[in-house]
Each structure stands twice: as structure tokens, then as C-alpha cells.
Amino acid sequence: MAVQPEALARHRLSRMALNRMGLWLFLLSETFFFAALISSRYYLQGLARPETLNQALGLGITMVLLLSSLSAYRAETCIAHGDRKGFQQNLLATIALGLLFVVGVAMEWREAFVHFPPNTGFGSIFFTMTGIHAFHVLSGLLVLTLVYMLGRRGHFSAGSSWGVEGAVKYWHFVDVAWVFIYPTLYLVT
Amino acid sequence: MLVVALLWAALTFVGEVLAVRLTPFRPAAAEEGDLIDSAFRSLTILSVPVLAFVLAVLAYSVLRFRVPGDPTQDGPAIRTHRPTVTTWLLVTTGLTVAVIIFPGTTGLLELHDRARHVDMVVQVQAQRYAWKTTYPEYGFSTWELVLPVGRRVRVEVTSTDVIHSFWVPAFRMKVDAVPGLVTTTVVTPSKAGSFQDDPDFRIQCTELCGVGHSVMRAPVRVVELSEFEAWVAQQSRSQ
């Protein structure tokens, strides 16, 4: 007789609390990755920054990502209170805002390729940091899309919404990472 | 307990005699090398009682407390013993702090002090798989390192390709050659010698740099000041 993974929840924590802890541990781990990225920026480039960086675009995509965090929060809150419609709408809004952010980064890259391509000092850091962050955004979008599809097929309810919670927590984490990356690349002097 | 103490004392005695009598390295050829060798010897002398203590307790316990066959009884239920733990912590902390201060910090400060004032500068450029030395004061370059006895030299090291490491075993001093950086080390040669007579008089690359890493060597020659000046004059003429 094999042990079913779900059967393990009867200890001190519920399966949900266990999953939650696992996700937080994963995010803690990821924090170290971003810490490595950010410290590399200061190690290699100090506080230097090219004047050609598009400040308006940087501020814009930051706002978009912050806004997407709100809609993600709303989606999770809605499903936790049983509001399916609000959940679906807000999730869709989050995905749309996430895509907008990706488009913003792509526009930023087009300009950056001209002014400070990846084989320059600042370019190495800029493309790596934004690229790795964008990779996290894309994987977050993938998960949010899966959750959205499952939601449309009737999954998740007020009492059982771990999938939503996990996806949204990850999304917020991507936002937190950007909160630090944005000034590191655009603002510090 | 007494047996262990005697065993410890005996092992320490033997170990210290060995540590003092048997020099594990050939004599250094630079003042900085002597400093490093004496730091090494101090650490050895400090380590011997520690090593001997653990060995004594280990050996005594194994011989005295072993039980032939399957054990039929449990040992005494000693979970901890506060005085022992406290003593142990005090002693290990004391030893650690001692080692940090001497020879660690004292040696570090002395080396640092020596770097403040130097008599001459030599530039060493590492490239796969050779060492080029330049004498900026005299304006020539060569493929061997020649230094006069008794002059304090700052060696400025850099690399043109990958990371190498500049090491002269006879001097003991070592510093990496990093592309894009100039790193420095200070040596004061204290006795004449040359690669022909002693293989320790060589620049040896000690940072893996590719296929030729193990054979990336250059000869080192330490000569009396007059001889050095003659060599400089001859080199300047020929270039």
C-alpha cells in the first residue's frame, strides 16, 4: 500500500498551511537569487547609470506592476469570500497588466540595445536583471493563466483556494523583487 | 584520568619535539618568507597540544571502555557536565582568540606595514603561459625575475587573459594576476640564489589557467646589489 501524498496532512499543520510554508521557503530562497543580482550591480558598476535610460518608461512599468498586485490581491480576496465573478475579472485584469508590463520591458530592451547593448558593463547588468525578472513575470503569467482556466471550469471556492493563493503570492513576490530592482537600475545615485 | 593526563603530556612532548626539530620546509629566501615560516611554526606548536589531547582521550577511551561482543549493559546516564562544558568553551575560545591575535593579526599588520615603503617596483605581466617582468625605473622587460638582496620590492601583477597567480615558493608570497586589475605583493629577498641551483626560485602559476598551467614557470634569480646593477646596465644596453 502506497502512501498518498494527500494523506499526510494529519500532523500539526493542515495541507494548506504546509503548502503555504513550502511556498514561503521557496520565496526566501529566490530572495537570495535577487540579492546576488543586486549586489552584482553595485560590485561591477557602483552607482553608475547611463543618461540614456528611459526614465518615463521605467516609472510607467513600475506603476503597471504595482497595479497588477492590487488586482491579484482582489482576485484572491474575492474567491476567499466566494465571489467567483470578481475573482475571474480581477485575475484576467492581473494577466492583462502582466502582459502590459512585459510589453513595456520589450520596448525598454529595444532602446537599450541601441544605447547600452548587453556586451557593455551596464548593459550586462541591465539585461540580466530585467531579463531574469521578466522570466519570473512570464512564469507567473503562466501559472495565473492555468489558475484562470481552472477557475473557468469551476475549480476553487471559498474554502479551497490554495491554487489561487499560491499563484497570487508568487505574483506579489515578483512585484516585491521589482520594487528593489527598479531603483537599483533607474534611480540610485 | 591520570593515565589520560600522562598520555596527553607524553604525546604533547613528542609532538613539540618533532615540531621544533623537524623543519617541514626549506629555508625561505625573503624576509616576508621568514615571517610566514615562523607563523607556520607557531601555529604548529599551538596545535600539538590540541591534537594530542583529542588523541589521548580517543585512544584511552577506545582501549579502556571497549566491551567485547554485544554490550549487555548501558553506560552511565551522563547527559552533560557543566564544568566540563564551560572549561572546554573557555579554552577553545581562548585558543581561537589567541590564534587570531598571534600569528594572525600581528603577521597581517607586519606585512601591511612593510608594504608602505618600498625600495623598488617590478611589474609582472602574466599571460598564457609565460611571465614577463618589467623594470619601470630602468625601462626594459625580460622573461626572468632578477632581484637584488636586501631591497624591498613591490611586485605589481596583472594579466592579459585569464586569472593566474604569482607565487615564488622561495619567497612564500603569492598574489593573483587578474585581468583588468593590478594586484601587489611585497618581497625583500634575503639571500642569493637562482633557479638553476634551487627549484624554489621560480615564478609558478598557482591559479588554474588552462592547458599549460602546470608548466607556467619563470626563473627567479636573487643576486647581490652590485651584480644586479651590472645586470641592469647590460639589459638596458641590449634593448
Binding site: 499543520l13 493542515s14 498551511a17 503555504r20 510554508m21 514561503w24 552607482l47 526614465q55 516609472l59 513600475t62 506603476m63 504595482l66 497595479l67 498586485s69 492590487l70 491579484a72 490581491y73 482582489r74 480576496t77 474575492c78 469570500h81 466566494g82 465571489d83 503570492k169 506579489h172 513576490f173 512585484d175 516585491v176 520594487v179 528593489f180 527598479y182 531603483p183 533607474y186 534611480l187 540610485v188 545615485t189 | -
Partner: protein, 68 residues
Amino acid sequence: MQNGRLRSALARGRWVLVALVALTVVEYAVALVMKSGNLPWMIIMNLVDAVLILYYFMHIAQLWRKEE
């Protein structure tokens, strides 16, 4: 009752966003005004940002709250 709880939670979310946006604008303004040495201020404001998101959006307190 249920609906009221939802509405107040959503309102809280809006206030958090307002704070985050305001902080970002302040960061931007600081960067425009302070031509050097703004790093410590950035770090402080980023930490406030992060705490707001971690606490209100990510419910970090769930970790040490007893399960219902």
C-alpha cells in the same frame, strides 16, 4: 456580513496601492532632486514598500497565526 467583510478587504487593498504608488512617486522625485547619495533613502523606502506588500498583500502573518 460576508459582503461587508469583502468590501472592507478590497478597500484596504486600494489604500495599500495608494501608499505604494505614493512611495514610488516619492522615490522618483528623490532621484530627481538628490543627484548623489540617495541610496540609503531608496533602501528605506523599498523596505517600506516590501513590508506593505508582504503584510497586506501576501498575508505573511498567516505563518505564525494559529490555524483556525
